[in-house]
Amino acid sequence: MVEEIGRTSEGDLIINVGPQHPATHGVLHLVLTLNGETIKKVEPHLGYIHRSIEKMCESLSYRQFIYVTSRMDYLSSHINNHGCALCVEKGLQVEVPQRAQYIRVIMDELTRIASHELWWGAMAMDLGAFTPFFHAFRERETITDIMEKTCGARLTMNYMVPGGVMAELHPDFQKDVKSFIQLYKSKFEEYNELVTGNIIFQNRMKSVGYISYDDAISYGCSGPVARASGVHCDIRKLYPYDIYSKVAFDEITETGGDSYARYLVRLKEMTQSIRIVEQLIDNIPEGDFQAKTKAVLKLPKGEFYQRVETARGELGVYIVSEGGTTPYRIKFRSPGFSNLSALEHMVKGLKIGDLVAAMGTLDLVIPDIDR
C-alpha cells in the first residue's frame, strides 16, 4: 500500500520541483515544503549544470576565456562577453574605437530584446498559455538571424574581443535591424492583447511574489527584479560603459514589487532597447572595429571589476591578476544567483501556482546561477 514517505514531522508534504520540471527552465532543483497547496519553505539545490567556469578561466588566456562566458547566461551571451572584454580592456587600458562601441551597444540591446522575448513566451507558458511562446519566437528568430549573419552563431556568439569586436558588420546589418524594428513595432500591440491585458494573467501575477524595496536591496536583487520594487539599479545609467552615456533612454522602474510589476518592467525595457537601437543604427561612425592589441595579452598586477547590465540584472566580472597571461582568479557575480536567493522570501505562504508565476518573472537561467 501507499507508504508515508517524504513528510515532515508536522505532516507537511515535501516535494521536489526539478531538476526535471517544466517550470524550472533547466535543471534547477527546488525542495518545497507544502501544507496542502500552500508553500511553507523553498530550498534551492544548485549545481546540476555546474562546470566550474571560474576554475576553467584560470587556465585560459585573456582572449580565450571570453567565449566560455557565453555559456553562463546563454540568453545574454553578448552582454557577458561585453563585460569580460570591458574588464580586460580596463586592465590593459585600451581605448576602444567608437565604431566598435556602437556595434557593441547595438548588439547588447538586440540581445536584451531577444532575451526578453524568450522570457515573455516562457513565462506565459509557465502560466499555462502556450501560444505566446511561438509568437515571441517569431520576433526572436529575426534577431538570431541578424546575429548569425554578423557573428556567425545564433546563441553563443563570441563576437566581443578585447579591444573591440571580432569582425566587421555584415553589409545587410543596418537593413535587417531596421526591418526587425518594423516587425517588432507591428507586433508589439499583440503582446498586450494576448497577455498583458488578459484578466487571468493579471490575476495570476498581481500581488504575487511581492518583494519590498528594502528586501530587494538586502537580497542583492538586480535588473528588472529590483527595478520592479523601485530600486534604481540600471548599470547602464549609474555606471555607463561604452557609449551608454550618450544615448537617451529611460530607466524603467515600477513600484509594485510583484510579478506584474516585474512583467511590466521587462516589457517596457524592450521598448527602451528598441529606442536605443533606433538612435544608434543610422549613426555608426566609420573607423576600425577593433583596437590594436598585442598578440599575447598580459594584465598588470591588480584587481579589476566591471559591472554590466545583462538582461537579467547586474553581471560583475572580477579579475584578480598576478601579471601573467591568465587570470589568477576570476569571479562572475551572476544576477540570477542573487535573484534566486529572494525566491523563498517571495513565495512563502502562497500557492504552487504562484511559485511558478514568481519564478517565471524572476527569469532564471540556470547555467548563469550554477556557472
Binding site: V2, L127, H135, G353
Partner: protein, 358 residues
Amino acid sequence: MFSLEGITTVIHEWLNNHFSPTLALLTEFILVGLAAIALFALLGLGLVWMERKVAAVMQIRLGPNRVGPKGIFQTSADTLKLLLKEGLVPDGADKFLFNLAPLVVMIVAMLILAPIAFAKNLQIWDINIGVLYLSAISSLSVIGIFMAGWASNNKYSLLGAMRSGAQIVSYELSAGLSVLSIVVMTGSLSIRDIILSQQNGWWIFKAHIPALIAFVIFIIAVTAETNRAPFDMAEAESELTAGFHTEYSGMRFALFFLAEYINIFIVCAVGATLFFGGWMPLHIGHWQGFNQFMDYIPSSIWFLGKTLGLIFLIMWFRWTFPRLRIDQLLNLEWKYLLPISMFNLLLMTIIAIMGWHF
C-alpha cells in the same frame, strides 16, 4: 440522400424479421456496444488531430503534416506507439486501483454516450430523465481521477487529484443550474423532448439574453469539468508536471488521453442539444420555405456541425488563455458563476411562466 435517420429502425426490423426477439435484442446490444467503441476510437483520434491542427495554426505553426495527407494519421500512429509501449507501474503504487482508474474514467465517458441523440431517431437509449442522467454520470469521472491520483503514490498526482476534486464538485453546480434553465423552458428532462421543443427555433435564440448567459456559463463550467485549459488544474503541466496521470504510460495513459477528448465531445454534444437544438435544423418561426430548405441538410450533419463548433470554441479557449490558480478557480465559481446562474435561472423561470419566449 445521405442520412443516418431511421438507420436504427431498418436494422431493428430486419433483425426481428429474421431472428427470434431475444436473439435480435442481444444482437442489437452487441451492435450498439461495438458502435460505441468504434465511435470512441474514431472520435478520440479525430479530435486529437483537430486539436493539434487548431493549436498549430493559432501558434503560427503547421502542426502534424507527415503521416498521411495533412498528417491525418499522425494520431493513429501515436496510438499505435502508445499501445506498444511498456505500461510502467511505479513502486509502491496501489496496483489494483492504478489499473482500474483509467478504466473507470473510460467507462464513465462511455456511459454518458447513451442518451445523446446523434441524428433524428438515432439514439442509444431514449431515457425520460436524460438530462439528470447526464449530470449524474458526468460527475463520476472524478472518482477515476481520484483513484489515479491516490494509487500512483506520487505527490504531484495526489495534488492534481485533490485539485480536480475541488474543481469538479464546484463546477457541477453551475453546469447543473444552466442545464436546469433549459429544462425549465421545455418542462421535460428527456433529450428527445428537449430537441423537439426547438422545432421552431433554438433555445439560445428563443429565450433571449438569459439563454445566452446560461450558455456562456455552461461552456465555462464544462470546460472546467473536463479539466481543460484554462481550468486544467488537475494536469497543470508547468506546476504539477502532469498532475494525476504523471505516472501513467503506455495504454493506460492513452485511455486517459482518449477519455479527455470523449468527454469534450460529450459535453459539447450536450451543449449543442440543449442550446442549439441537437440534430434539429435551423428553423425560424413561420418561414416555411427557409425551414424546408434547412431540412434538406441531414440531421446528423447538423448535430456534428454544432458539436464540432462548440469543440472548436473550447479548443480556442485552451490555446488563448493561461491557467487559473486554484483559489481563483474556486472564486470564479462561487463568487461569479454560481450567483449569476442562480439569478439567471430565476429569470428563465419567469420567462417560462410568463411565456415571453418565442
